[in-house]
């Protein structure tokens, strides 16, 4: 990068199923104020505002324009980005490139989704092939989760019982995170007996439909050092598009099961990890990385990613689970925020991952804090099986 960039402030709103008490403008404003307070700045100190969400979900054209009053972007530079579930991570990379460009001193990045004002099921399906998939009723995310689940089982990476064990970990972490939407007190039996969506995918494996907003402030090195005593550095980031999907006549439900590389969800993340590990000298990720904050929209994804991120050998995710290596007390803690299965406000979700990574590096995670020093965090998000943005954040330059 032309200039090194640091995160100097984060803010988020607690995830909820519904926020009838606020408009979309007020919702993003809560996150913006929290981030400004965290950075000890006022909106006057901000040069650029980057906003992102899935505009179709709430049916608002150009949300960045409508939300100007809530974002505080009047008179400022900025633009809007939309890249499906990856939006939150994409706006982060967009914001970082603005900060690294040498043109700006501070960049405010804001993602949100107010899903109590939309209907994901119908709208999400609008991403499908109009001729074959929509007519066939292929549900967008559910199909992808099913493909991942089948692939995990096929590779014998984990059993349904072990998936239930991971789900209980995720729920326990969600209980410790004040920003988590779901606060579930569940047992492995509850998970194993929850309703089947498409076997082996069960209701409790799946992320919720959430309302939340997240804001992150980044600045180039000189400004970051001047403005804050606790900068968290953006060591590197990487974007990759992994799509094979909507091709006429190729109903995408097949993608997960039929391709030898496994689900596309995994492929993009794996490629991003390989590239970032190589560029940053990571040869033993499980030893060198202190914490991972992932975009795992179902428990099956989390387990699949253990292997994609090379935390274990292919087909050996079950060992990690049995050792509880990804638990708070394990050697490679994973999604201590409760993860996406605890909160999923789509346009904010990728940015929540970044915010949680920053909180862990600063040691401000409270009950969900990794119980040891966190220097290097790997975080990523994924959208529509195709967009993937991954980043390394670190305590030191």
């Amino acid at each position: 990068m032309a200039e090194r960039v640091a995160v100097i402030g984060v803010g988020q709103t607690p995830g909820k199923r519904s926020r009838k008490d606020v408009s979309e403008i007020e919702l993003v404003n809560e996150a913006v104020r929290a981030a400004l307070e965290d950075a000890e700045l006022t909106i006057k100190d901000i040069d650029v505002v980057i906003e992102g969400n899935m505009e179709f979900f709430e049916g608002t054209l150009y949300t960045d324009q409508w939300l100007v009053e809530g974002l505080g972007s009047c008179g400022k530079s900025g633009l809007k980005v939309n890249s499906a579930g990856d939006t939150g991570a994409t706006i982060f990379s967009t914001g970082v490139s603005h900060a690294a460009s040498g043109l700006f001193k501070t960049v405010l990045i804001v993602g949100f989704e107010k899903q109590d004002e939309g209907a994901y099921g119908g709208v999400g399906m609008r991403s499908e092939d109009s001729f074959f998939d929509i007519a066939g009723g292929s549900g967008r995310a559910i199909g992808s989760m099913w493909g991942t689940a089948i692939s995990v089982l096929n590779r014998k990476s984990a059993t349904e019982e072990l998936i239930a064990k991971v789900r209980v970990k995720e729920a326990e972490c969600g209980l410790r995170n004040p920003y988590s939407h779901l606060k579930l007190k569940i047992t492995e039996n509850d998970v194993l007996n929850s309703n089947i969506v498409i076997w082996p995918l069960r209701f409790l494996h799946i992320c919720p439909t959430s309302v939340s907003s997240c804001a992150v402030i980044v600045a180039p090195e000189k400004e970051a050092k001047r403005l804050t005593r606790k900068p968290v550095w953006v060591k590197d980031y990487y974007c990759i598009h992994s799509g094979l999907q909507p091709r006429c006549g190729e109903p995408w439900l097949n993608v997960g099961a039929a391709y030898p590389t496994g689900p596309q969800f995994r492929w993009g993340v794996e490629q991003a990890a390989i590239a970032l590990y190589k560029r940053n000298g990571i040869t033993h990720p499980r030893k060198q990385i202190d914490y991972i904050e992932s975009y795992s929209p179902s428990t099956w994804h989390e387990v699949d990613y253990y292997e994609a991120l090379k935390l274990c050998e292919p087909g050996e995710a079950w060992k990690l689970i049995e050792e509880e290596a990804t638990w708070p007390h394990g050697d490679i803690p994973f999604d201590l925020s409760g993860g996406v299965v605890s909160t999923n406000a789509i346009g904010a979700t990728g940015l929540h991952r970044v915010a949680e990574a920053v909180i862990q590096i600063r040691g401000e995670g409270g009950e969900r804090q990794v119980p040891r020093d966190v220097n290097l965090v790997f975080t990523f998000a994924q959208g529509a099986d195709q967009f993937c943005t991954a980043a390394f954040l670190s305590k030191n330059l």
Partner: protein
């Protein structure tokens, strides 16, 4: 800017009212193919010498494309597989802006920008209505046309702009378009024809407005100084750029002024070290969906003082024979789809600076301005200063 960024290739399709014979991806590829052929470039993962496109930026709004996460629907036409790909939900001028930022950040070298809209597959008034606040304004049935009519009334009343002055913009653009093989609706019209054409929303008449439905795409390749010199002997440099948001609610803005454009232009001028835009710029490609907007935007861009847009138009400076021709291409009034329009202005400006504009060429053009905007009545603007 810390380093120089160049535009090394531009391509566009012919703009038409209904490309019903082509699927969305095919429309986009018509433009993409041109820039790939011009440069001989391919995608980074397919070359070994590091000399390929390493980033794709699309401009697409889900509502106008009609799908959630719209760009991946045409990803195989973009060549996006294995590539870094991002999508800007705004007028495509903002995607070009994003591309420059990406290159300046040092993270990418060569960026392909693609914008495609098929308005024939949408209903613009219904979609534009979603721009407005859900409680008070949407139920009124506002769309860009009716909101712009309010802006035109306010602007004309405040500064005494006449309908004839607005009509002169429409005439100049439609006539200029006769020289542009990509234009959708070139017309030989007079001010009288405009004033007699059917009323859409007072004071905007059919010929004051862009054609109601437009399909098409454009594409650009931007790269670093070092690579640009190896790719082409006619690079066009991005000397300055700026963008800016205004407030959303129409009632909170004075629609007769365009503060966000003033700020966006100042940012671009200051970066390009331009102190007298009227003298230092040789031609301008300005985004205007309705004729009055050009008069207002020329004020915002500092070509004339506030409220003087009408009189400035009468001086003929913006005619092809004038000292600062505006929209030699015919601009949006001759037909460009929403979302594509701002990048199409950059494409036209680059074509001019390369001296490849054929019958619409402005002789000796060295510095050009390109402008795009997003949102009703121009809520956010984006301005580029380009030079040969």
């Amino acid at each position: 800017m810390s380093q120089r960024v160049a535009i090394v290739a531009v391509g566009q399709t012919k703009y038409e009212s209904n490309k019903s014979n082509l699927w969305q991806g095919d429309v986009a590829y018509d433009a993409i193919e041109k820039v790939l052929q011009q440069t001989g470039l391919t995608y980074q993962d397919r070359v070994k010498d590091g000399f390929g496109i390493d980033r794709i930026l699309t401009a697409g709004e889900d509502h106008f494309i009609g799908r959630t996460s719209n760009p991946f629907w045409i990803h195989h036409y973009l060549g996006a597989f294995r590539m870094s790909h991002d999508n800007v939900s705004a007028d495509a001028a903002f995607a070009v802006y994003h591309a420059v930022i990406d290159i300046l950040s040092g993270h990418y070298d060569t960026v392909l920008v693609v914008a495609m809209t098929k308005e024939s597959e949408t209903s613009r008034p219904a979609i534009e209505n979603c721009y407005f606040d859900h409680i008070f304004l949407q139920p009124l049935g506002l769309d860009y046309l009716s909101a712009s009519a309010l802006q035109a009334q306010r602007y004309m009343n405040k500064y005494g702009i006449s309908r004839e002055q607005c009509a002169m913009v429409a005439v100049r653009n439609r006539v200029n378009a006769k020289n542009n093989p990509y234009a959708q609706e070139p017309l030989d019209i007079t001010v009288e024809d405009v004033l007699k054409s059917e009323m859409l929303a007072s004071p905007i008449r059919v010929l004051d407005s862009k054609p109601p439905v437009s399909d098409g795409a454009c594409a650009l390749i931007l790269t670093t100084e070092e690579k640009a010199k190896k790719i082409t002997d006619k690079p066009v440099w991005v000397r300055g750029m700026g963008n800016c948001y205004d407030v959303h609610y129409l009632g909170d803005r004075d629609l007769a002024d365009c503060d966000s454009l003033v700020t966006a232009a100042k940012r671009a001028y200051s970066m390009a070290k331009i102190s007298d835009p009227l003298k230092e710029i040789d031609l301008a490609e300005i985004s205007e969906e309705y004729s009055y907007q050009e008069l207002l935007w020329t004020e915002g861009l500092g070509f004339c003082g506030r409220g003087e847009g009408g009189k400035w138009m009468e001086k003929g400076i913006s005619q092809m024979s004038g000292s600062l021709p505006i929209n030699p291409s015919g601009g949006i009034l001759a037909g460009n789809p929403i979302g594509v329009a701002g990048a199409a202005r950059v494409v036209e400006a680059v074509t001019q600076l390369r001296g490849e504009a054929g019958a619409r060429q402005v002789e000796g053009a060295k510095t050009a301005l390109a402008h795009g905007y997003t949102g009703a009545c121009g809520q956010s603007h984006c301005v580029f200063i380009l030079s040969h």
